[in-house]
């Protein structure tokens, strides 16, 4: 399923996630005459989830119109960068209180002929900072 940030689909097709590790938050201390270290383990920090997929335009009559539509769609999603909201992953898992820290095009916009017109496509990448 398409990953969703708040009410916004981050991709249209071929969505995939790479789920990062929760950040370890630990205080470490060394004593002069004692071998090793002491750890004070604290609650885990956030994890980063990298999302990639394909964003597509509506079917348009020309390549220029399709690319313009896709750029508008991309820019609309980028307005969520810096926003804290719920993130639903490709498996439907919900990560509450997540930050969309980046959303970018990952390659040139390509144009493909489809039935009844032309569609623009681009690989996209998003970075989510989620609670552990």
């Amino acid at each position: 399923m398409n990953p969703k940030f708040d009410t916004c689909d981050l991709t249209d097709l071929a969505a995939a996630e790479v789920i990062g590790s929760p950040a370890s938050r630990t205080s470490r201390e060394r004593m002069p005459d004692v071998a090793g270290e002491f750890f004070q383990v604290q609650p885990a920090g956030a994890r980063e989830i990298a999302v990639r997929g394909v964003l597509v335009s509506a079917v348009k009559a020309s390549a220029d119109l399709a690319v313009a539509d896709l750029k508008a769609k991309l820019l609309a999603i980028q307005q969520y960068v810096g926003v804290v909201a719920d993130y639903a992953g490709t498996d439907g898992r919900l990560y509450s209180g997540s930050l969309l820290s980046a959303y970018r095009q990952a390659g040139p916009m390509e144009v493909s002929a489809v039935e009844n017109g032309v569609q623009a496509l681009a690989h996209v990448e998003a970075a989510i900072v989620a609670q552990p």
């Binding site: 995939a16 997929g53 490709t90 144009v111 493909s112 496509l121």
Partner: protein
């Protein structure tokens, strides 16, 4: 279903310069692939062709003439003759560039040379006038 067969490429020119002694012309059009798959997909769910690339080779018999053509640019044009004497075709490829040549001159054999080309447009095939 009706079909046509063509032979004998003729009237070969690039940028108004005639190319003599042409034996054959290969025209290739290849579109780039845009493919992707997502989590849990056993097969690519995105498989599209996008921008095309036109390329090919012109094979002729005259290495000296080919040397003079290397580096030429312009519209590449030639005709295909219909083997059934019906509608001959004119092929026009705008924005073509000849990138060099491979010449073969051998003992007791006719010389041969191939000229590779690429182009900034798709070939247009139309009935000859």
């Amino acid at each position: 279903m009706a079909f046509n067969i063509y032979h004998d490429p003729a009237n070969v020119t690039i940028g108004q310069t005639p190319i003599a002694g042409v034996e054959s012309i290969v025209v290739s059009v290849r579109r780039q692939e845009f493919c992707a798959h997502g989590d849990g997909e056993m097969h690519e769910s995105v498989a599209r062709f996008t921008a095309g690339r036109t390329s090919g080779t012109i094979t002729l018999v005259d290495p000296a003439g080919a040397a003079a053509l290397a580096g030429r640019t312009g519209t590449l044009s030639f005709t295909w003759k219909d083997t059934k004497a019906q509608a001959d075709k004119t092929v026009t490829i705008a924005g073509a560039s000849i990138g060099g040549y491979d010449a073969t001159v051998a003992r007791n054999a006719a010389s041969g040379v191939t000229l590779p080309f690429i182009a900034e447009s798709a070939p247009v095939v139309a009935d000859s006038q």
